[in-house]
């Protein structure tokens, strides 16, 4: 195999537990975003747009959707003879099978994959974020500064700094200290979880880390501090564009709805930095005689006979006459019944909202089910769920995936309520 200068390893095994029912059956990188995409598309598109054509995708949690989405990498032009995309799932070894116990362990278990390409550099990415970044510029910086490791950082507001891993740097950009979620941050440079390493150097640290039984096998907690302790040359690379971890329902909703602004914070219409995804086979969408669309994003295959305001509608959605949708995200192939009203809600893939049903009405109330995850006024309905006709759902309600009309005991669920069907992997 031809030697590659750089190989990307994309960590896509995260559950994203704070997205609640949205990630109950799929991994966070597979969650739909932006009216057409899945979260991982942004990182994969960054790779190909940066000229990286060898990408290993490390999966673990609920990988089915992710695997079928990625396929052989065609949409990203990553179906290559030499390199291309490779899905790296945990596997059995001679003695025993092991799950990936941490981010560093996941890479450690795939050392042989990287070795085969014998790259000079590896870039570690996560499939959890929405951003556009040219990794080749970061690689240039890494080479110019002759670093052993370069960590991409973003300036965050001081108040929020204690939620991130903070890099404390000298004037020349070298890192002298890393603090995970510090109480009193000394700087506001947060790690974006994007690392470029000299492969020879990283491999050595991964092997050493693997032997330590008290290690969490995590890049942030173990590998970076160990390298710092050994006085390796580590640089912070400043990134200034849009970068969001859409890891909570509130953050997911805010970032998605912001796309409908006249000039959104994140531009999906850049012809020089396209975002790629498998294109659904649908005709262009149709706005009917009674349809009305204002400040919204509508994807292909939709049929709109109702009113849509300030919302993002994914491919193949039908919105029937008299329906009113505001501040909401409707995922692929959902059906919105006639004269229904939907406010500030997220409706999962292939779900059906009955005629005259209402979602997201009334006043906010704390979630009776899981106030840690469901802590906003947003009502979330999972995928493949049917909400019967005339049902009324309050604010901050959560309805599980695969709910049928038989699962409803009454046609009213007050704010903060929930309808969850067995299975506890949320």
């Amino acid at each position: 195999m031809t030697r590659k200068e750089i190989v990307a390893l994309l960590l896509a095994g995260g559950q994203g537990s704070r997205l609640g029912v949205l990630t109950k059956n799929i991994a966070k990188p597979a969650v739909l975003y932006g009216g057409k995409y899945r979260i991982i598309d942004f990182t994969l598109s960054n790779c190909i747009n940066s000229g990286i054509d060898t990408v290993g995708v490390l999966t673990q949690y609920q990988p089915l959707k992710l695997n079928s989405h990625i396929g052989i990498g065609k949409p990203w032009d990553l179906d290559r003879v030499n390199g291309g995309i490779t899905i790296l799932a945990p596997y059995m070894k001679t003695e025993k099978g092991e799950w990936y116990s941490g981010t560093a362990d996941a890479v450690y278990q795939n050392i042989h994959y990287v070795n085969e390409m014998s790259p000079k550099y590896v870039i570690i990415l996560s499939g959890d974020h929405i951003y556009k970044m040219n990794y080749s510029e970061m690689l240039e910086y890494h080479k110019e500064t002759k670093a052993d490791a370069t960590i991409s950082v973003i300036d965050v507001p001081y108040e929020e700094a204690s939620r991130y891993g903070i890099m404390n740097t000298r004037e020349d950009g070298t890192i002298y200290e890393f603090e995970e979620k510090p109480q009193n941050p000394k700087s506001t440079l947060a790690s974006m979880g994007i690392y470029i390493f000299n492969w020879d150097c990283l491999r050595e640290y991964l092997i050493n880390d693997h032997l330590k039984s008290n290690s969490d096998h995590d890049f942030g907690k173990n590998i970076i501090p160990a390298m710092l302790a050994d006085g390796k040359r580590m640089l912070a690379y400043r990134f200034a564009g849009y970068w969001r971890d859409v890891g909570t329902i509130q953050a997911y909703w805010e970032s998605t709805i912001n796309l409908t602004e006249r000039i959104p914070d994140f531009n999906m219409y850049d012809p020089y930095w396209k975002i790629y995804t498998p294109n659904p086979v649908y005709p262009a969408h149709f706005i009917g005689d009674t349809g009305k669309v204002e400040k919204s994003i509508i994807a292909e295959g939709c049929m709109v006979y109702g009113t849509v305001k300030n919302s993002v509608i994914f491919p193949g959605v039908t919105i029937n006459e008299g329906a009113y949708i505001e501040d909401s995200i409707i995922m692929s192939d959902a059906l919105i019944g006639a004269n229904s009203e939907i406010y500030c809600s997220i409706i999962g893939e292939s779900s059906v909202i009955g005629n005259n049903a209402k979602c997201g009405v009334g006043e906010f109330a704390e979630s009776t089910y899981n106030p840690k995850v469901y802590d906003s006024k947003i009502t979330v309905i999972g995928s493949n769920t049917v909400i019967p006709n005339n049902t009324v759902l309050g604010k901050n309600v959560v309805i599980d995936n695969y709910i049928t009309p038989h699962d409803f005991e009454s046609n009213f669920i007050p704010s903060g309520g929930a309808l969850i069907k067995g299975g506890d992997n949320e």
Binding site: Y282, P283, G288, E294
Partner: protein
Amino acid sequence: MKSTMGIILTGGKNSRLKELSLERSIAAVPFGGKYRVIDFTLSNMVNSGITNVGVITQYNIRSLMDHLGSGKEWDLDRKNEGLFIFPPYLSEFGSGWYKGTADALYNNLTFLLRSDEEFVVIGQGYAIYNMEFDPMLEQHINKNADITIACRNMSDFSFNDQKNMGMVQIDDDGRIIDFMEKPLNPKNNLGSMGVYIIRRKLLIELLQDSAAKGQTELVQDIIVKNTDTLRIYSYIFNGYWRPLSNIQLYYRTNMELLNPKVRNELFMSRRKIFTKVKDEAPAKYNEEARVRNSIVADGCIIEGEVENCVLFRGVRIMKGAVVKNSLIMQGSVVESNTHLSYCILDKGVTITAGKTLNGDSEWPLIVGKNVKV
């Protein structure tokens, strides 16, 4: 579909679509927001399980070649078989340009000889329809026909349109007893859709035979002249079908997509229409957007008023613009405070601020590719 190959004829020189077909063949003309005309016949073949398809091209082939590429959107990038494109060529024996449909097929006889399918479906690159060829093949076999021609009741076309079609007369068994190509006085409403099924070996024989006689046309020389000697049968198709053979039909057919019945028949069955993808972000509507009864493709950004229109990919309608009854093709920009009605804007057109352009429902105003008005 069992052992069947496909051939798509994309036609000779045609200026009936005016400016739209000056630089491309009809098969490559954009249609319905995101498609090219050939997508329909090609998808029909793929949906009928045909995996060996030859596209015979002649005029202005660049944009058609660009669109078809390796055939991967239709799942025709195969190791064995797949998509083949046949432009005219010069050789010791051939003169280059195809002199007619039969001549075009004869020039590519090697393709027919080397394939090993039992049957051939021949289709046209200029028609919009969603059709499964399996039942037609079944009838072809049951009737022990030599040639089966897909026909339909053409009463939804004007008398003038019918005069440009091949009209047929059949007996009680469905056998074609008379075939009139472009008749002055059509006797009934049954017309040919230009879709034929024939045994591959018979087609080779007929082509060799007609070439020896110096004949060049599939319809006039092979079909019309052989209604007595060959068992030529009709297969009645009852669905939606439109040939885009003039600008009125092109405009009307695009507009008919606004009818849910037509749209559902073409696009919402399990037989999908495939096309080349462009990776545009979904369409965006700003606050001022007022869109009614229109088709809007990905990548559009709309701030104006749009009614009864088809907007192709990446179109911009700016503030205060009012666009009605128009087709706006890929990448065109309609600047603020313009008024358009009954217009067809080809790809990449810019209508500068404040302009008013009015066409007529029978004679829509066409603005050529990349023109700035």
